[in-house]
Structure formats: structure tokens, C-alpha cells
């Protein structure tokens, strides 16, 4: 599998500019169908690449292979690819994602707060958390993070085979994938009422907890 991907990366360099663009869109689009078998996906992508390279050598154009509507063709391919089995690997990858996300979020939170306290003399050196609020906020954040990942995948699929201008892309992704979720996160932590038993911890502990979560994530990654 790995070797197929490496081989694909190397062979792709032989494509000319036009063919490369259309093939890489195809590659992205087909690979983003995350619920399909990876082995079959890579094999059919390699077949298409080999075919395209031969066409190029013979001086023929990509539309002879992909037809006039490459997106429709990509959909046909994706539609026929076999489903991925729900494997142990996928479950491990799920937990890896969860722990990486939490780890980075807690670490950054701790780092910024600690720097604010020791560097700029903000009064509190500790923070009180309410267990109930914390649990709800964590779950909601994870939910938002997954929706965000899904939305990014959908966006990239949508942008494949299109000439999206850089300015539009910057504005759209900046607002939809940057400002909007960030605003929701802030609103969540600001407006969520406090409930459940309180815990007070020193700020620098957050950094350590963040690192622990990240290490847990790496553990899951290694098992996957």
C-alpha cells in the first residue's frame, strides 16, 4: 500500500502540466472518499495514472480517458469502489484524532494562560473548572471539530475540478473554517452556565495534561 503511494508520487512527476492538474484533482477527489477500501482506491488510481501516461506519450489528451466531465467520471469510480471494513485501525485512528485534538487544545490553553500570568502579571495563577460544564464543553468541542473536518473534506471535494480563485478561497475558508468555528468555541466557553463540582488547578498543570493527552494520541497512532 505504502509502496503504491510512493510509486504514484514518483510517476506523477512524468505528467505534463495540464494532465497533472486534472489527475491530481482526480486523485484528491477519489482519496477523499474516506469510507472506501484504501487498497482498491490506490490500485485503481495507479491504473488510471499508467493509462494517462501512455496517452500522454502517444500525444493524446486526458479527456479520452476521463471523458468530458471528469467529476462525473470520478463519481463513477468512487461509486464502484468497495466499502472499507470497520477495522481496529479505524477505531484507533478515531481515538488518535480525539486525543491529539484535546492535547493540543489543553496545551495551548495552558501555555497562553501561564505566559499571561508570569509574563504579563495577570492575577490568577490557577483556574477553577466545573466538572459538568467541562464535560459538556469537551463533548460539544469534539462534535464541532468533527463537523469541521467533515466540512473541510466536503469543501475540497467541491473545489476539485474547479478553478477557484485564490481570493475567494482565502475569504471562504477563512470565514467558514476559521472565524466561524473559533467564534462558536468562544461563545461556548463564555455562555455555558457553571454546574457540577468545581476543581481548581494551577495553570501550568494544563501544559502537562496537554502533553499527556498528546502522548496518548501518539500511542493510539502507533497501534493503528
Amino acid at each position: 500500500m505504502e509502496s503504491l503511494i510512493v510509486e504514484n508520487n514518483e510517476k506523477r512527476r512524468l505528467l505534463n502540466k495540464e494532465n497533472k492538474k486534472i489527475y491530481e484533482d482526480m486523485l484528491m477527489y477519489v482519496r477523499l472518499s474516506y469510507n472506501k477500501s484504501v487498497a482498491e482506491t490506490e490500485e485503481v488510481l495507479m491504473e488510471l495514472l499508467d493509462h494517462l501516461l501512455i496517452l500522454q506519450q502517444e500525444g493524446r489528451v486526458a479527456s479520452e480517458l476521463f471523458g468530458d466531465n471528469p467529476k462525473q467520471y470520478a463519481n463513477e469510480i468512487v461509486g464502484e469502489l468497495p466499502q472499507k471494513m470497520l477495522s481496529k485501525k479505524m477505531i484507533m485512528q478515531f481515538f488518535m484524532g480525539v486525543f491529539y485534538f484535546l492535547g493540543v487544545a489543553i496545551f495551548l490553553n495552558g501555555l497562553v494562560s501561564t505566559v499571561c500570568h508570569y509574563g504579563f502579571g495577570l492575577p490568577e495563577s490557577n483556574q477553577t473548572y466545573y466538572v459538568g460544564t467541562l464535560a459538556i464543553n469537551t463533548l460539544l468541542s469534539l462534535g464541532i471539530a468533527f463537523i469541521l473536518v467533515y466540512a473541510v473534506i466536503r469543501y475540497i471535494c467541491w473545489a476539485c475540478f474547479k478553478d477557484v480563485t485564490k481570493i475567494f478561497e482565502l475569504l471562504f475558508t477563512g470565514i467558514v473554517f476559521g472565524a466561524l468555528p473559533f467564534g462558536i468555541f468562544l461563545a461556548l466557553f463564555y455562555f455555558m452556565p457553571s454546574f457540577g463540582p468545581p476543581i481548581t488547578i494551577e495553570l501550568y498543570w494544563l501544559i502537562l495534561i496537554g502533553i499527556c493527552f498528546y502522548l496518548l494520541g501518539s500511542l493510539f497512532k502507533r497501534k493503528a
Binding site: 503504491l4 510509486e7 482498491e40 490500485e43 485503481v44 491504473e47 499508467d50 493509462h51 471523458g67 464502484e80
Partner: protein, 144 residues
């Protein structure tokens, strides 16, 4: 005043009805065209599947080779259309793909027929024989 209003309402009713009918017919038309296309491409796909099975039963081939063989037999289909079909045939376990080193160097996916594939080809052959004569006769009669 009241009369005017009544006339206006009737007019509005007629116009609305006209548009509703128009859209209904329009969508019907679209549906019919779509359906016809679907049936045609279904028919073609089924035949193409049979032809691909026939070629693979004779010799082991890889994708590009298969496309060329189809073209040699004057079956002028778009080259890309074989790959979705190959995927489907693999899913139905009628053919089997295997990555192998080719004589000229790079890894290629070679396809062979499975036992189920042999059976399916036999069924296709029978169905085709069964259809070919009556259809040919029918079309010839029309010419006369």
C-alpha cells in the same frame, strides 16, 4: 370594483395553473429523457461487461491492454469507461486483479477470470444468442 377583483383572481388562477402544468410537463419530459438514457446506457454497460469478460477469458490483460483490445474489435467506447466496470466485476468476484511486474518493468494490475466469471460469461453468451437472431430478423423486416 368587485367584478374587477373577481376577474383579477380568475386571471391569477389561470396563470398559476398554466405555470404549474408547464413545470409538470417539463419535469416529466426531463424524467423521460433521463430514463431513456439510463436504459440505453444500462444496455450498453451490460454488453460491454460481457465483452470484457470474453476478452479476459482468452488471456490475462491489464487495463490499457483491455481498452486497446476493445478498440481493435471496433467497440468504440471511451477508454475510461472500462475502469468502473472492472471495479464492479471485481466486487462481484467475476474477475480477479493482481499487481504483478510486467515484462517492460512497472507494476501492473493483471486481470483473470474466476469460476463465477466463467459462468457469467456462459450466461451472457446464451442470452446474446437468444437475443441476436430475433432482433436481427426484426430489424431486417423493417428494412424491407
Amino acid at each position: 370594483m368587485l367584478k374587477k377583483r373577481k376577474a383579477y383572481i380568475i386571471q391569477l388562477y389561470c396563470v398559476t395553473r398554466y405555470w404549474i402544468l408547464f413545470f409538470k410537463n417539463f419535469s416529466n419530459l426531463q424524467y423521460k429523457v433521463g430514463e431513456e438514457m439510463a436504459i440505453r446506457s444500462q444496455l450498453l454497460k451490460g454488453i460491454l461487461e460481457g465483452c470484457i469478460l470474453a476478452i479476459i477469458s482468452k488471456e490475462t490483460v491489464y487495463g490499457y491492454e483491455l481498452a486497446m483490445k476493445l478498440q481493435d474489435h471496433a467497440l468504440d467506447v471511451s477508454e475510461g469507461s472500462i475502469y468502473p466496470i472492472l471495479l464492479r466485476l471485481q466486487k462481484e468476484k467475476l474477475i480477479q486483479g493482481e499487481m504483478r511486474k510486467s515484462p517492460s518493468g512497472p507494476n501492473r494490475k493483471y486481470y483473470t477470470l474466476t469460476d463465477a466469471g466463467e459462468e457469467s460469461l456462459e450466461t451472457f453468451r446464451k442470452n446474446w444468442e437468444y437475443l441476436k437472431k430475433p432482433v436481427d430478423q426484426l430489424l431486417d423486416e423493417e428494412d424491407v
